[in-house]
Amino acid sequence: MEYVLMFIAAVFVNNVVLAQFLGICPFLGVSKKIDTAIGMGLAVVFVLTVSTLFTFLLQKHLLNPLGLGFMQTVSYILVIASLVQLVEIILKKVSPALYQALGVFLPLITTNCCILGVAILVIQKEYNLLESIVYAISTAIGFALALVIFAGIREQLAMTHIPSGMKGTPIALITAGLLAMAFMGFSGIV
């Protein structure tokens, strides 16, 4: 039950994009088509889970015993970057189809701040390993959900008459704001 609540909280109430405003760059960048949004969402679910697992172990077994808490950010980035590279190399050989599907999004995720954000958040909230993994997966699903919804809206928007001054990024930002307000309706349910 505890994990279900955690899942709902992470997906809807504290949605990583629409409530915590992490990972806005891919949210605006790769949300023009639903297909690419789904690809990006899957890649984030995958990388976020794996990277949270590794950074959690790094924190508990290397940084904490040595008293190197101040190196958290820099060592996390190092680990995440090499991890994504590793995954990319293996994926290219083992599953070319999946590699094609994720495409350029996989390396792009390295610099996605919601990955680093979640890795740091689970330490701050003092979760244990299992809780961290559940939290990471739920957050990533929340990210994918927000991205797909937003992409769907933008696909519809592309076919309507928009005043020329509002075309492109302005209308996208307004849409994102409205979507964030819509998600505020979930606050307090958990």
């Binding site: 040595l66 190197l68 060592s75 293996i90 290219k92 050989k93 076919m159 309507t160 008459h161």
Partner: protein, 297 residues
């Protein structure tokens, strides 16, 4: 303290580097070096006109194929395919260059509006709803889906006629506009010698009177051109004439007899006055070469 920090961070980095090196060696993919060389000679437009996902997909298909018969880069044409053939030591199939042709001449003047459409500005959506703003339900809708589909800036809607116009020099005949047009108006036709070509600029299949009422430039299927053509290149089907680009010898007789001026000639020198006979015959008669021109009927 500093030392520990440096050592541990360096350690993480070193472990990561070794791990990456080891996996990249273990999971190395042996790509055929010819794929990269073929890709170099391809135009790199990634338009998908060949039917493969991008130029790398096409290069891969070329290397793996036994012969190059059914493989053609529409952008590069025969010139590029010959280069590919040299790299792969295979025979390239020869094809004539093609170009996109708009088969509708229903300008605003010729085709009076019968209603007004205020919906989404997209041919695909408008064609799902109904036949268009004019009496001709076969003709161009003029919302420019073809213009949006073109990666090469080669097709534009003329604001006066509201018909698309192809810029021949830019057109690579990738076929993107052909797929984008919900009315199947655009056709890839043989470019012809000195890019001279003759085509029926109408796709209306209504009977003569109905077609004529909807658009004064429509093909009414009267059959005059069919009788005039000495080479059997023109066929009439469903009240619509079609000129076979393979059989057509560019004599231009059909252009003159068409009562509605639906047959268009492009890039020909002007005729001499009072001379209904073809003024200048093309110097060399084009040899009837096998083409792969698709007929989008």
């Amino acid at each position: 303290m500093i030392l520990i920090a440096i050592i541990s961070l360096g350690g993480i980095g070193a472990v990561g580097a070794i791990l990456l090196y080891a996996t990249s060696k273990k999971f190395e993919i042996h790509e055929d070096p010819r794929i990269a060389r073929v890709q170099e000679v391809l135009p790199g437009a990634n338009c998908g006109g060949c039917g493969f996902p991008g130029c790398s997909g096409f290069a891969n298909a070329c290397v793996n194929a036994e012969n190059l018969d059914n493989l053609l880069c529409p952008v590069g044409g025969s010139a590029v395919m010959e280069k590919v053939a040299i790299i792969l030591e295979k025979e390239a199939s020869k094809t004539d260059p093609t170009v996109a042709v708009v088969r509708c001449n229903g300008t605003c003047e010729a085709r009076p509006k019968t209603n007004q459409y205020n919906g989404v500005s997209s041919c695909a959506i408008a064609s799902m709803l109904y036949g268009g703003e004019t009496g001709c339900s076969y003709g161009c809708l003029g919302f420019g889906d073809c213009e949006a589909a073109c990666d090469f800036d080669a097709i534009h809607i003329n604001p006066e006629t509201r018909l698309p116009e192809v810029i021949e020099d830019k057109c690579t005949s990738c076929g993107a506009c052909v797929k984008a047009c919900p009315k199947n108006i655009i056709e890839l036709r043989k470019k012809g010698p000195k890019s001279r070509r003759i085509f029926v600029s109408c796709v209306n299949k209504e009977k003569g009177g109905v077609a004529r009422k909807a658009c004064t430039n429509a093909c009414i299927g009267c059959g005059k051109c069919e009788k005039e053509c000495a080479f059997g290149a023109i066929t009439i089907e469903n009240n619509l004439a079609y000129i076979d680009p393979v059989k057509c010898r560019l004599c231009r007789k059909c252009v003159v007899v068409c009562p509605t001026m639906a047959i268009h000639e492009l890039n020909f020198p002007p005729r001499k006055e009072k001379d209904t006979e073809p003024a200048v015959k093309p110097q060399k008669k084009p040899e009837p070469i096998e083409t792969t021109t698709p007929e989008n009927k």
